[in-house]
Symmetry: C2
């Protein structure tokens, strides 16, 4: 609970006008981009620097409130959804790129830097930061690190964790430490940087981030292939994944998604086909031409109905932007769109595509499928009306079946969105009780008072005293 | 302490002839490749399967002995050096490659597989496992994972942690769990795979390892460049690192090392120069030719005295093997060779090279320098007589100064060898007390009885009751 004394303490730590408690402020930060989840926090604080963040976390330990760091609120698993006793931390002005170190190919940035702004800044110097989440024009590096965000270029370049060399972090005790650094290799102690990346705000608050950079790939080729069945598209994905070529991007859009995207963006996609692949290869000009040629052959061998190359960089950009609009486009079709990120080994993509279709039919729900097929990371998106309890129940039953399928196929309940609140009940099925206990032990050791974003990923303890942390399934709109 | 009852318990868990307690067996496993460190364990056990490992770890919790998993004993920080109450676990027959999954580009292997054997097995299928520690013909995957081993190809391909997708692990509680898996992306909970990699046997015993594979690069070019000063070679390293080319290998050998290697291997190296760079680029033929040409130009611009390309793949292999023999060659010169792995951001390599030379002069010790200069990871190797206490003290003082230099230059006390016993007293200087406490908290939470390899990386606790764990600085040769 946030006491009056704690509020005064927060005001003294930062400034009176940086501690927001008005109802409209609290409602604004009650949820993130996850549908059907939300709760008004007790206060919203806008700290100025790492010292203030550290002070707030120490005060939280003393006064018994919890702290939820928040990026741009684009998360899809409820990681930034507060509990009622929580103080939400905002970082709107923490958007400076502090240093781009060209010789050592890295950059220190503040956590509030928008991901696409970082791309632009480093690309002007011929450098490259690969992670490109769908929301990259809005989302911030701090949130990307907290959720270990993926993106369209993950197949070749990996996810956020592969691009973070160091962090300045406020620990759950309120201590400020630097983890990692500019050395390319460092085995001095456990890999705390990797432990922090993807910790969903539960182990530390990031106040600076050191990202890795590489030389920008000089050329990109973009290929569109269409298929008469989703299974044929899935087979092409598996064939490309098993070839000796590593595309930078290998995305799938099914007919539901294609129609939504074309109606939204109007870029001339053929929405009469059952599935489309958007494939990109990058690198040197000669090599990417060879690769594009070879991928064209693979798609044709897997019965693609058409294979086209983007006519120009602008055209390629238009196609990429259309793909990025998939969720937005689908979300226009019904009042509520629940986006998931079921992920399997790449060879199991055709099987998962078939199962998702059967599951949608069985539960009588519309599921559009798109996503990073080359990674085995699909985004089945269920289109419902969140006010219709029966339809919500059918959607939840469908996702139950989808996650059972991903686990059975050797995959994971979440490839890039995190567990947050939305998927914590599925976690024991994937990790088993010893695995979840292991996570809990780490959390309890590092954050004994459960100050940082408690109740995310897993509940504090199965036998904890007192009532479980309440997270209403619907936004409190009163 | 290992009681008679515990020994009987071990025999019951596995088999009588798999529990070794004879003095000669214990002496064999008293140390690893780290000079001046060693202690006879209480017993050596050779488990047959993961179930037996789990049973041993549970028994250790019940009976109060510690467990030290051991790979091939090539470690250079004392990570496998037991304490006197310890049971050392050996995995000599755990050397099967269980599955190579070509479509999903990964392989499950047992921890006792020799690294070079894995290279060979996957390369026959056109696939590639990059980590190639200097000892790759002897060392094993389990040890590589425990120490997060590096190698010559780290500059382009990263270190062991970048190649591990999953682990089957016996936790400190004796539970057997699988972490990670064949999915390329997985954010279901904290990144426990990364926490385990580099944990030096203190958080789990690996019973199976899932490694990532990529298509084998089709071509490699090998370049040798010589320099009239070490500083010029360092400047060439920094210039290449800052260019838009990423060599797979960028190694330096100073004159002391060159002379030792040439005398040992006789491959025609010019040992009259002050420094040599061994540079490799790999990829497609056209691209590597371009890169080799460009690197040749960079070396000439940085005043290389000669730049030559390896005449054939066999010649390249000979040069690589000579480089791998650097430590062995240096170790022949004096009774004791202490190899370290000071690591700095790549741009600081010229500065570190100069400082190491000055430090060697100041402390009147011979230090040969070689290593992965492109990574900023140097192996200053101090050649002494370990029986000469005064010389040992001078060497230790020199390393003190070297580690102070690496930390000052934004680097680390260990790039790829681990902290083990040899460097734990330097760790607080790099991480600070809050950082070390964070590590300790993780260890204490996951291994409350300090059963797994205790006393490595850090001491259990600064205020722990009872005497500190004794690790004699010299092997007990009685």
């Amino acid at each position: 609970m946030l006491t009056e004394r704690a509020i005064v303490g927060l005001q003294e730590l930062t400034a009176r006008d940086r501690v927001l408690t008005a109802r409209e402020d609290l409602l604004t930060y009650a949820g993130d981009a996850t549908p059907l989840l939300g709760a008004r926090p007790a206060a919203v604080v806008v700290p100025r620097d790492a010292g203030e963040v550290a002070g707030i976390v120490r005060l939280a330990n003393e006064e018994g409130f919890s702290v939820v760091p928040r990026g741009a609120g684009t998360g899809l698993s409820g990681g930034a959804v507060p509990s009622a006793d929580a103080v939400v931390l905002l970082f709107p002005t923490w958007n400076r790129i502090l240093e781009i170190d060209e010789p050592n190919r890295c950059a220190w940035v503040e956590p509030g830097v928008v991901t696409a702004d970082l791309h632009q800044a480093v690309e002007e110097l011929g450098l490259f930061y690969a992670p490109d989440p769908g929301s990259m024009k809005v989302c911030t590096i701090g949130g990307n690190v907290a959720e270990n965000a993926g993106g369209l270029r993950g197949l070749k370049y990996g996810v956020t964790k592969d691009w973070i060399r160091g962090l300045e972090v406020v620990l759950p005790t309120g201590e400020l430490v630097q983890l990692g650094g500019k050395a390319l290799k460092d085995v001095a102690g456990y890999d705390l940087v990797s432990l922090m990346v993807g910790s969903e705000g539960t182990l530390g608050v990031f106040t600076r981030v050191l990202v890795r950079l590489i030389p920008k790939p000089p050329t990109t080729r973009t290929i569109l292939a269409t298929f008469a069945t989703v299974e044929a598209a899935g087979a092409a994905v598996a064939a490309i994944a098993a070839s000796k070529i590593l595309p930078s991007t290998l995305e799938i859009l099914d007919r539901t998604t294609l129609r939504a995207v074309e109606s939204f963006a109007g870029v001339g996609l053929d929405d009469e086909v059952e599935a489309m692949l958007l494939i990109e290869v990058d690198g040197r000009a000669e090599a990417v031409d060879d690769d594009a040629h070879s991928i064209t052959g693979t798609c044709r061998a897997e019965r693609a109905t058409t294979v086209r190359h983007a006519a120009s960089p602008d055209h390629a950009d238009e196609l990429r932007t259309a793909r990025r609009a998939a969720f937005t486009a689908l979300a226009r079709l019904r009042p509520t769109a629940i986006l998931e990120d079921a992920t399997v080994p790449p060879s199991a993509v055709p099987e998962l595509l078939g199962r998702i279709r059967a599951i949608a039919e069985r539960h009588d729900v519309t599921i559009g499928v798109f996503g990073h097929a080359g990674d085995g990371n699909l985004h089945p998106t269920c289109l419902i009306d969140g006010r219709d309890a029966a339809e919500v129940a059918r959607a939840e039953a469908a996702f139950e079946d989808i996650f059972s399928a991903t686990i059975t196929l050797g995959g994971t309940i979440t490839g890039e969105h995190g567990v947050g609140l939305a998927k914590k009940r599925f976690l024991p099925r994937q990790l088993g009780q010893p695995g979840v206990r292991f996570l809990r032990q780490i959390k309890a050791a590092l954050d004994p008072n459960h100050v940082l974003n408690p109740g995310k990923i897993f509940d504090p303890a199965p036998r904890c005293e007192g009532p479980p942390l309440g997270h209403p399934r619907f936004v409190d709109a009163t």
